[in-house]
Symmetry: C2
Amino acid sequence: MDPVHDRLTDDTSNCPIALTLEVVGEKWTLLILRETLYGVARFDDFQRILGCASNLLAARLALLVEHGVLSVEQYQEPGQRPRPQYVLTEKGAALMPVITALQLWGDRYRPDPKGQVAVVKHRDCGAEVQLSLHCAKGHEIHGAAEAEITRGPGARRKA
Amino acid sequence: MDPVHDRLTDDTSNCPIALTLEVVGEKWTLLILRETLYGVARFDDFQRILGCASNLLAARLALLVEHGVLSVEQYQEPGQRPRPQYVLTEKGAALMPVITALQLWGDRYRPDPKGQVAVVKHRDCGAEVQLSLHCAKGHEIHGAAEAEITRGPGARRKA
DNA sequence: CGGCATCCTTAGGGATACTG
DNA sequence: CAGTATCCCTAAGGATGCCG
């Protein structure tokens, strides 16, 4: 193979960030997931709260289910007919740091004129949730400068 | 105003997550930021590595500069003509947890067949960077179940 | 080298209407 | 209530070419 053609026609294919964005990168997806963290589970509620088109919502939910981020469960209130509800899987719940990171950044750097809209709190003690980076040995990392990203074994050559 | 019309024509306007996504939610934006964390700073390098169209790249960079996430600096190597370079501002560096969260999730749940492409390490000790959620009082939060999101004072009624 | 201008094409997404 | 199905339309994005 000509090394010149060793181009990245598709960087997406080997970057974990891009791979993640494939799942949650579309406009409404993270907002849907945010709502699931609030406890929203029903189609109707998603739509009303988010105000997005039903076809879109259906498509996103299906995608998330397909990716194993959400699962559909049937539930039935006594006397009612059964309804589907969407709940986070473990894989989906693991996206919480992403949501939280986005939220904390937004709170800090794009404050809403109307005041804080949502707060993430520890269920037990009620204190606000924070997020920290630290290394495997326990050292806290305060900023980008204290870390470095190195291309691992799977990375493309060249740069 | 008719309460019925108290609809969220634009939920975007008061959700910190949506506000953040306004800045970094587009397809290439986070990948550009990822590269800045790698130390990439020049137009040419971004384009070659990401493989995206130059007009797009220019537009994204301009947007990020406009939002104060990146700043443009002129630098000049001796004997060379001056060139602009794009560097993270403090505001931009604060997005690192977002990037890291996405990356860690991708590594864990969407492993690349070719092996890990990139690793984030603590500059001092070389150990891998991790991310944790904890509350203001120091309690570690292990999953979404231990936290709850509550709509704050600025939130819309109804739901 | 670091862009902006232009053209073109498509995919994403909003609105609306219909169905089990 | 929980979606499908359709239509339309804009904006995002790729390709290409030009300019300081």
